[in-house]
């Protein structure tokens, strides 16, 4: 199977302080497969995602090769890159609550994006969005599109982002901790949507998460990061059963003990923990 996305010797550093945020990192994502990136916060997961999209802050520099379909993204002009974003590669953000322009209704962002990539007018865009939104269990899509971000819940906004992915049909979806900011029930629902998303679009996916339970359900391969270094990568099964690196084993065991503890306390019931 050909490698769909190949990242070679990616290095990210802070220009002003010279601090290296991501050390020499290389990994691959196969076509139609899902790579999970796990690690504690600050380990460089989000920076990696943004580096692939070339969306890091202006004071952050990156070097190395990012090959998408064999095309090196580092060589693209800003304009070419802009055309790739959204249509070819799509980012689902961690905080649905802050991902949409707070001063307008969420629909505006959706219409503008679709107009940009497909040239649709508002009516066409609304039509496509409605179908997609219904399929991610958002009832009354027209009403939702006329609401301000703060009037919707984090889970709903996360699902709107997923619905937009369904319409854009990108080749690569990068989901940066899409469920972290959600309560347990919404987390479960959003995870379901992700499973369906993969099934329907057949796209590749990079899924960043703290939640090893989700990773196990969704991912084919796992990448473990610590302090800006990739400490281990391998198939999901091998990571969970036969981790080589001490840190990976630590992560897996912490998850296990916490899970057991949680279950014993809650009697197996999920609880909202906003």
């Amino acid at each position: 199977m050909p490698n769909f996305l190949e990242v070679n010797h990616l290095k990210v550093w802070d220009k002003s302080s010279g601090e290296v945020i991501l050390h020499d990192s290389s990994f691959k994502v196969n076509a139609e497969s899902c790579l999970a990136v796990v690690g504690e916060s600050g380990s460089g997961k989000s920076v990696t995602c943004r580096a692939i999209m070339r969306l890091n802050k202006p004071w952050v520099s990156q070097s190395g090769e990012i090959l998408l379909h064999g095309e090196n993204l580092s060589f693209l002009s800003d304009k070419e890159m802009r055309q790739k974003r959204g249509k070819t590669m799509y980012l689902i953000m961690q905080h649905g609550m802050s991902a949409f322009d707070p001063s307008t209704v969420v629909g505006v962002h959706l219409y503008e994006t679709l107009k940009q990539h497909f040239g649709w007018n508002k009516h066409e865009a609304a039509g496509h969005m409605s179908i997609a939104m219904k399929s991610v269990m958002l009832k009354e899509p027209m009403e939702i599109m006329n609401k301000y971000p703060h009037q919707l819940s984090g889970g709903m906004l996360q699902r709107i982002m997923i619905a937009l992915a369904l319409v854009l049909e990108p080749d690569l979806i990068i989901a940066d901790e899409p469920t972290t900011a959600l309560d347990t029930i919404s987390q479960y629902e959003v995870l379901e949507q992700f499973l369906q998303l993969r099934e329907r679009l057949g796209c590749s996916m990079i899924f960043v998460s703290h939640d090893l339970g989700m990773v196990r359900k969704l991912a084919d391969e796992v990448l473990v990061m610590k302090n800006g270094v990739i400490v281990e990568q391998g198939s999901t099964e091998s990571i969970f059963t036969a981790a080589k690196h001490e840190y990976t084993r630590y992560l897996v065991s912490t998850k296990q003990t916490l899970n057991d503890h949680f279950k014993s306390v809650m009697g197996g019931q999920g609880v909202a923990k906003r």
């Binding site: 943004r50 802009r82 953000m93 802050s98 962002h109 503008e112 703060h150």
Partner: protein
């Protein structure tokens, strides 16, 4: 929305009552006896005990405190602030035209401040760290450190004396507005453009900007979004600026002999014209509170999140 407006308006009423009470009390904290002041102001050569008693009666000063307050408050509601100790004319007949002149000056200045700060703020934010940004910020630094009367003096010296282009003082034609408005606008715009600039820069780091870019939206659309969000902050700042300027045109008015509240208040203070001072404080404090109320309402209209807060 209407519910919010009514609520917000009701909150300002007790505040206005407190202000009126404090204004009334203030006058009675004075070390001088009002009767004495009146007699002095009227140029009575020898103030006798009998004259004092008589004047006190005339002024109603022999009544109990609370009754005097209520009577004063009732007449204030009808815009009757009493007579000036100095000229004997009704206070309102002197105050009203001055107030109007100050409002005119304030409005024109506020307009210029808004335009200047938005333009400078946006330009500096988009050119952060570049030459334009540094120059504008540098100049603003020194301008805000300059006392406004010094700036006024420089401008008068340059444009009125040396170049003989603009009138030095008074309020005779439209050109009389130019210098005072510039002095007020420059010192405030120097502060406010920084607010817009930093708010633009803050928004630049927001998640929605990243998501917009991740969706492939063009930069000009993203800039527009940032501007719209930054202006929300700016609106509240500008709304607050109007009452602040209204109350602090004193120096500029005196410098340019502008026939407004500022000139009038200093004159009254120097001649200890208590009813005048009282009316001045009451009118401006009321305007201040009302402007704040209105600015909160405008804010709520623009920012839907605030509306639900109250």
């Amino acid at each position: 929305m209407y519910k919010y407006m009514i609520k917000r308006f009701l909150i300002s009423i007790p505040l206005l009552l407190i202000i009126s009470f404090l204004t009334f009390v203030l006058i009675h904290l004075s070390p001088l006896d009002p009767a004495e002041v009146v007699l002095q102001a009227q140029g009575v050569p020898v103030i006798t005990e009998e004259l004092m008693v008589q004047t006190k009666q005339e002024l109603g000063l022999d009544q109990p405190f609370l009754i005097r307050y209520l009577a004063w408050f009732a007449s204030c509601l009808q815009l009757d602030f009493g007579d000036s100790y100095v000229t004997g004319q009704p206070v309102w007949s002197l105050l009203a035209p001055a107030f109007l002149n100050t409002v005119k000056l304030t409005m024109v200045s506020a307009l210029l401040i808004i335009v200047l700060s938005i333009v400078l703020g946006v330009v500096c934010a988009l050119r952060e760290g570049k030459m334009t940004d540094k120059t504008v910020r540098g100049i603003s630094f020194f301008v805000t450190a300059m006392p406004s009367y010094a700036l006024a003096a420089i401008l008068i010296w340059l444009f009125s004396v040396k170049l003989d282009l603009l009138p030095t003082s008074g309020m005779n034609s439209l050109s009389s507005y130019i210098l005072p408005v510039i002095v007020i606008a420059v010192s405030y715009a120097g502060l406010y453009f920084r607010i817009i600039r930093s708010s633009m820069l803050n928004n630049l780091n927001e998640n929605y900007v990243m998501y917009g870019r991740a969706c492939g939206l063009p930069e000009h659309k993203i800039t527009k979004t940032i501007l719209r969000n930054s202006l929300q902050v700016a609106v509240s700042v500008f709304c607050m600026a109007v009452p602040i300027i209204l109350g602090s045109t004193v120096v500029v008015e005196n410098m340019f002999a502008w026939p407004g509240l500022g000139s009038l208040s200093v004159k009254s203070i120097l001649s200890r014209d208590f009813p005048m001072i009282q009316a001045y404080v009451l009118v401006l404090a009321t305007a201040f509170v009302l402007f704040n109320t209105v600015s909160d309402m405008i804010n709520a209209a623009i920012n839907p999140k605030l509306r639900e807060g109250l």
